[in-house]
């Protein structure tokens, strides 16, 4: 999730004392606020007085800053951490496990939007939709003629890293475009009708497009490195709707500059909102501002989970 605009949480009207207290690890997304404050008393954890900190049982986080071991230690009554994102790499799961604190994420609320956006980035990168739109807007079509030919999407080999909720929806969509779908994940999924590759390197070697839709963990950090990009090849395209940390970003920039890979569609970066400026001059790259999941429909879905029945999507600690 992108860092939300700064909005102070309200504590609800009148009968605040009757509503359960939920501490906010980061400023709440404005769209969440009315619905949540109707049911909960919301206070920011930063600057919460000792009495509040001592009794708070629930903590709501969007994405950043991190829910660290120190934060958890400062909340001795904490029983539940709710994150409205899908990723939980910003939560110290080990610290939560030690304390018996349950962690839930937004489950399926965002999956369709993330998958749609991944497909949108694949098509935009291969067919140059964003670059061609800019070309038309600056008068290039009238002045210089047709946009150079791009690359066909149908029939391309697509390798998906992470066949979870998001990855499996990406697979279904791109299969309908006539793409040959294969995947890599921690373990093969017997019910998935796609070819499994035990390593990202093997997957990249057999793919024209690689889509990253897996969690960021110690094992997956920088999984896309130079070797993987060389295997993907000079006509290959990388699409990332997972986490910036999955990719060795400086190496990605080098590989794009040198033509080691053919293009990229990126929604996430290692140090958002910093984006390597060298990418701004590249026509074969599509850049977005970590918006893959940000639709009113997904926020409504996440709210249903968070405010309604949060423990339907507990994270395995």
């Amino acid at each position: 999730m992108a860092p939300p605009t700064q909005v102070a949480a309200t504590s609800g009207e009148g009968d605040g004392a009757d509503k359960p207290l939920v501490l906010l690890a980061d400023p709440i997304i404005p769209e969440f606020e009315p619905e949540l404050s109707a049911h909960y008393r919301l206070l920011p954890v930063a600057g919460a007085d000792a009495a509040i900190a001592a009794t708070a049982r629930a903590l709501l986080t969007v994405d950043l800053p991190a829910v660290t071991a120190d934060l958890v230690a400062a909340l001795p009554a904490l029983e539940l951490v709710v994150t409205s994102s899908v990723g939980v790499d910003h939560v110290d799961l080990a610290a939560c496990r030690r304390r018996g604190i349950r962690v839930t994420n937004a489950g399926d609320a965002f999956s369709a939007d993330a998958a749609d956006f991944a497909v949108g980035l694949v098509v935009a990168a291969l067919r140059r939709v964003a670059a061609a739109d800019a070309y038309v807007r600056r008068g290039g079509w009238a002045a210089h003629g047709e946009y150079p030919v791009a690359t066909k999407v149908s029939g391309k080999r697509v390798g998906i890293v992470g066949l979870g909720r998001i990855g499996s929806l990406v697979a279904r969509r791109l299969a309908a475009f006539g793409c040959a779908v294969s995947y890599n994940s921690r373990s093969p999924k017997p019910s998935a009708p796609y070819k499994f590759f035990p390593s990202v390197l093997d997957l990249a070697a057999d793919s024209d497009v690689v889509v990253l839709s897996c969690a960021l963990t110690e094992e997956t950090r920088h999984m896309v490195n130079r070797e993987v990009m060389e295997a993907l090849g000079k006509d290959g395209v990388l699409v990332n709707v997972g986490r910036g940390g999955l990719v060795d970003e400086p190496e990605l920039v080098r590989c794009l500059r040198e033509g080691v890979i053919g293009g990229a569609g990126l929604d996430v970066y290692e140090k958002e909102p910093d984006v390597p400026p060298e990418l701004f001059g590249m026509d074969n790259v599509v850049l977005s501002d970590h918006r893959a999941v940000l639709t009113p429909e997904s926020i409504r879905g996440a709210l249903d989970m968070v405010a309604g029945r949060p423990l339907l999507s507990p994270v395995t600690l």
Binding site: A112, D133, K152, V153, F280, D289
Partner: protein, 317 residues
């Protein structure tokens, strides 16, 4: 077919041109020259031109056909032939071919890619990031979900069906309008375009352009589609009442549009360039290396068949 005099109306594809030069007697028309020079050229070469190779926008009008007394065949490097004077060709016994089938996937891919790009504002996000605004301003934009949107398709031919199959994978219910109702168990037929538009979130133009379909997307249809609706046009600019479309978009009476074609290409209405609820493409529906190559082979195959007295591969007339 080394003795076949072929007039290439304008540059359209390097491979096609190279093959025509290698296998036929190729003449390149002075497309950009003033009218009197063009007329002089035609007079000078009238005796040797037996075939014309043209593009979808250029077509072949009565004046050109009349200027070439030895003309036997017009081979279009496009699936659209609305700018070829078929009546005049029939009168003269001139054959006409196009390039159906080989570009179906590309056009369908782009149609869906444009729909996602409009709804999720992909080119706008790209521009926002490239201009350094994500870092400077840090707002986030909510854009509406694509999955599940009701898709209405005008014309369920090869391209329309290919679009339907793709959007079904996103859980989009599919409806359609065409002159004759067919038996599609999963797609809902509407007898008028207005009714189709009224029940659609995304309306896609995927039919051929002829007398019945000219300006089929009228003011009434645009109004029925409404402020929540999006138009995607991968057909012909002539399918849409363009001034009405532009006004509706500028005034917010239509939610958005993804446009690959325009009434007077390469001119694009200035008012559209200022809007961020549109995605503009420079008629690149078939603009991939793979498909242009396949289209060129169809053109060459039709010319070969004609010269050897065999049935044409893809005759229109």
């Amino acid at each position: 077919m080394e003795s076949l005099g072929v007039l290439l109306l304008h540059p359209m594809d390097a491979y096609l041109e190279q093959e025509l030069a290698r296998r036929c007697r190729l003449l390149r028309f002075c497309w950009d020259a003033p009218p009197d020079r063009r007329d002089a050229f035609l007079r000078a070469h009238a005796g040797s031109v037996r075939a014309v190779v043209t593009g979808g926008v250029a077509g072949a009008g009565a004046a050109l056909i009349d200027a070439l007394p030895r003309l036997e065949i017009v081979a279009c490097f496009s699936v659209g032939f609305d700018r070829v004077d078929l009546a005049r060709c029939r009168e003269r016994g001139v054959r006409v071919t196009n390039t159906p089938g080989v570009l179906t996937d590309d056009v369908a891919d782009l149609a869906v890619g444009l729909a996602i790009a409009v709804l999720r504002r992909i080119p706008q996000a790209d521009g926002y990031v490239r201009a350094g605004q994500w870092k400077a301003k840090g707002d986030f934009t909510l854009t509406t979900r694509f999955s599940g949107k009701r898709v209405g398709i005008i014309g369920l031919g090869r391209i329309g069906l290919a679009i339907a199959r793709r959007v079904e994978a996103f859980g989009c219910p599919v409806s359609y309008y065409q002159r004759t109702k067919r038996d599609y168990p999963n797609y809902t037929f509407f007898p008028t375009v207005v009714e189709l538009a009224a029940t659609s979130d995304v309306l896609v133009v995927a039919c051929s352009l002829n007398e019945q379909s000219r300006r089929i997307v009228s003011r009434e249809v645009i109004d029925a589609l409404g402020p929540g609706g999006v138009l995607v046009n991968i057909g012909r600019g002539g399918h849409v009442d363009e001034p009405e479309l532009v006004a509706a978009l500028a005034e917010g009476r239509l939610g958005g549009a993804g446009l690959d074609v325009f009434e007077d290409e390469p001119e694009v209405p200035e008012a559209l360039v200022a809007l961020d609820n549109v995605v503009l493409a420079p008629h690149m529906g078939s603009g991939t290396r793979e498909t242009r190559r396949a289209m060129a082979d169809v053109v060459l195959g039709n010319l070969e068949a004609h010269v050897s007295g065999k049935p044409l591969l893809t005759p229109v007339v």
